[in-house]
């Protein structure tokens, strides 16, 4: 599916050479969202080439940037189409755009519009003034939910591979391979992996403000431990017998490890994690997840062989 649209100057409503110019990325959803939220405003939209990527991601990469805005202003001969020399750039383009540089090179001054397109009518009505709230980025429940699917899809294929492997390994026993165990043992293992994956990739994002710790991996690990405890207390795993003990211990390690890993990777979808912070948390989280996964896997295999 191609979500990139042609970089160009587009008209919304019935703009004149005095109408404002809003700058947008060439990601179709960004553009459509902007057009829809503008209200009855007559304006020009200067769509720049961000390779079909949305404003904030492209700004972080530099593709929604000074050079591309300058290039597009020149290519579209914008100065011949409007009488004024003002560009309204979405605030989240700022990581990639140096406003004073754009002005120097194009003679178009940059005004940063609100974070959310739905605030544009109020912003324009107030004379291109934003309230402090219009300039804040939040990460409320809905914000957290809409960026979840990307992460779930990215890691889902690995989860399915792990589930398939454990399912097949469920038949392993000291007496050789016995496929009658596949459903009970292998199936249970696959399901527990799936639950841990959802715990880290879906539940932790939902419960983010209420899970303890500031690091995402910690929040995911805690959720994973609670899930494992629930599974044990619910009677689905037993401490009885050596095999039971080994298996239960393995899941007490594996479920938090999987959940913590998924939660840690949710940092990329969040709106407030710094790279320095992510590196700091990973320095501890990654070795811990690897250790728990390796020991947990070893215990699980041991449980098969007793």
């Amino acid at each position: 599916m191609n979500y990139a649209i042609q970089p160009e100057v587009y008209a919304v409503g019935d703009p004149t050479p005095d109408s404002p110019v809003l700058v947008s990325a060439n990601y179709k959803l960004s553009f459509d969202h902007l057009r829809r939220e503008m209200g009855g405003l007559d304006a020009w939209i200067l769509v720049i080439d961000t390779k079909g990527v949305n404003v904030w991601c492209a700004a972080g990469k530099g593709t929604f940037g000074t050079d591309e805005i300058v290039r597009r202003v020149e290519l579209t001969r914008l100065a011949e189409r409007v009488n004024h020399r003002k560009l309204i750039v979405p605030q989240l383009g700022a990581p990639g755009v140096a406003a004073h540089e754009v002005k120097r090179r194009t003679h178009f001054g940059v005004t940063y519009g609100p974070v959310r397109a739905e605030d544009i009518p109020a912003f324009v009505a107030a004379g291109m003034q934003a309230t402090p709230e219009m300039r804040r980025v939040r990460f409320d429940l809905w914000d957290r939910l809409v960026v979840m699917p990307v992460e779930l899809v990215l890691w889902g294929r690995y989860a399915l591979v792990a589930m398939a492997c454990l399912f097949l390994l469920g038949g392993v026993s000291r007496q050789g391979y016995d496929s009658t165990h596949l459903v009970a043992i292998g199936g249970r293992a696959a399901l527990l992996v799936w639950m841990a994956y959802l715990c880290g990739g879906l539940l932790t994002p939902m419960l983010l403000p209420w899970l303890p710790g500031r690091a995402f991996s910690v929040k995911g690990a805690v959720a994973g431990v609670l899930l494992a405890a629930g599974v044990v207390l619910g009677g689905w795993l037993t401490w009885a017998g050596l095999a039971g003990l080994l298996e239960t211990l393995s899941w007490v390690l594996l479920m938090p490890a999987i959940s913590a890993f998924l939660a840690m990777n949710y940092t990329g979808a969040s709106t407030y994690t710094s790279l320095s912070g992510v590196k700091r948390e990973m320095r501890i989280a990654v070795p811990a997840q690897i250790a728990a996964a390796v020991i947990g896997s070893a215990l699980w295999l041991a449980a098969r062989c007793v």
Binding site: G60, Y272, S274, M282
Partner: protein, 89 residues
């Protein structure tokens, strides 16, 4: 209010160089900076996500930050030698 790790950001403000133009306050998505008197001040350091909007838009270079994307997947990909610094594209 969601807060990430404390004491990690690389954001620095040189108040001597700052002219108080206020662009950093406009572009910051988390109200890290504010104008107090004639210059900007950092008022919520740990809210900084190192997006780089403030430093890129400071016309006098009073702000410095190691800008980057706070994405664990990107860090993993870089460590594995892939040239993508993010999970998307």
């Amino acid at each position: 209010m969601l807060k990430y790790l404390a004491g990690v950001t690389t954001l620095e403000l040189d108040v001597e160089t700052c002219t108080g133009c206020g662009v950093c306050v406009v572009v910051c998505p988390h109200a890290v900076l504010a104008i107090e008197g004639t210059t900007a001040r950092i008022v919520d350091l740990d809210a900084c996500m190192e997006c780089g909007a403030c430093s890129r838009n400071c016309p006098v270079g009073a702000l410095q930050v190691d800008a980057g994307v706070g994405c664990a997947t990107g860090v993993i990909f870089s460590a594995l030698g892939k040239d993508r610094d993010c999970c998307c594209e």
